[in-house]
Symmetry: C2
Subunit: 221 residues, 2 copies
């Protein structure tokens, strides 16, 4: 074969390794979760509803295309996104959201009939947060809250929410957020709160989106 052709074939073959890695819905979900913070195989399997073996295999694929890194920690193997990967994923999500109309439809259909799901105005939210006019809940697992959360947010993991209701105000609007538009924790939280007579709305943006918009996060307790 022509060496020029051969060169191009070899080069694009390599580029396609990245494409193949992100051509599976499951692997995209795994990467998305990893961009929220490192995880063990077990946790990833649980969050994605895959079998452990299948999760492990997908992670091998991601590792072979250099999109994730792994580290053995005792009995566990912890996976992490490789540098640049979350930015790349963001760019991909951007294209998808702008070009693929079905995404908006699916979102709309899922949120249909649920109260408090309208997109919020960020400016309004920020100013109301400052005047303490609203209560902002971070409903992700406590560990993720510790790793970084929106300034002024309260950590109330979804599975503890039920037991924290007594401490929440009935006369003030409650805003719940989680990992982003495709995370359902805040959706469930808002549903529960509204059922119990609170006035709750969802902030669609997640911590990473918040960060990406140049807004500051806090860490720790």
């Amino acid at each position: 074969m022509n060496p020029n052709r051969r060169f191009k074939d070899e080069i694009y073959e390599q580029f396609s390794r990245i494409g193949k890695a992100v051509s599976s819905p499951k692997r995209l979900e795994l990467l998305d979760i990893l961009c929220q913070g490192e995880r063990t195989v077990e946790k990833l399997a649980k969050e994605t509803a895959l079998t452990i073996a299948n999760t492990s295999q997908h992670l091998q694929v991601l590792k072979n295309s250099r999109l994730v890194e792994q580290e053995k920690q005792g009995l566990y193997v912890v996976y992490r996104p490789a540098p640049m990967v979350c930015d790349f994923l963001f760019s991909m999500r951007n294209v998808a959201e702008n070009r693929i109309a079905e995404i908006e439809q699916i979102k709309k259909r899922f949120l249909e009939g649920k109260k408090g799901m309208e997109p919020m105005d960020r400016e309004a939210l920020l100013s109301r947060l400052e005047t303490e006019d609203i209560t902002l809940l971070d409903v992700r697992p406590a560990e993720e809250f510790r790793a970084g959360h929106i300034n002024g947010a309260l950590s109330v993991p979804l599975n503890e929410l039920e037991f924290m209701l007594a401490n929440l105000p009935k006369d003030q609007e409650i805003v719940a957020y989680c990992r982003g538009p495709y995370c359902v924790l805040s959706v469930q939280a808002v549903e529960l709160l509204n059922q119990r007579g609170f006035n709750a709305v969802r902030l669609e943006e997640g911590v990473q989106d918040w960060k990406r918009m140049g807004l500051s996060l806090s860490t720790g307790k």
Copy 2:
């Protein structure tokens, strides 16, 4: 199935349409070419060394994942990258180049033993261009030159280069560029020039890279 799980599955299924589109080396090459400017199926087939039917099928895949747009012009169908797609591709190439060591190896092996292939210092190039110390050749097809080229470059398409040699200086360094690091036009040009006793080097960056670095381009003749 749990509606939350169903929602995620549906969403990531949609995201993966983008990934599937860029999981084939041939489609990546097609997209790369399209980011240089719109093309007919025929031209794309020729540039990628694919059959027309195969090219057409790949283009259908890209169209279905909304990464390209098409327009019928008489007997021809012209394809164009959709908005944002070239930026996404750039981000993907970035990840690949940084994470996949094989790419650098393949490049090195291909350029091995060829004269004038060392990366150039951009600053030095710019200042030498201003003092007219070097001759800058754009060896892409004339049409692409017209659509946009580096300020001060001369249009000498590779297949015309042989007949233009008499007009080129023997006492001055000649710098040739084309579409970028994976385009071989400038490589061939530099080889030919050096064989014929000129002092030629290759500028690895292509027009799009140049543009992306914030440097200005000219259009027209």
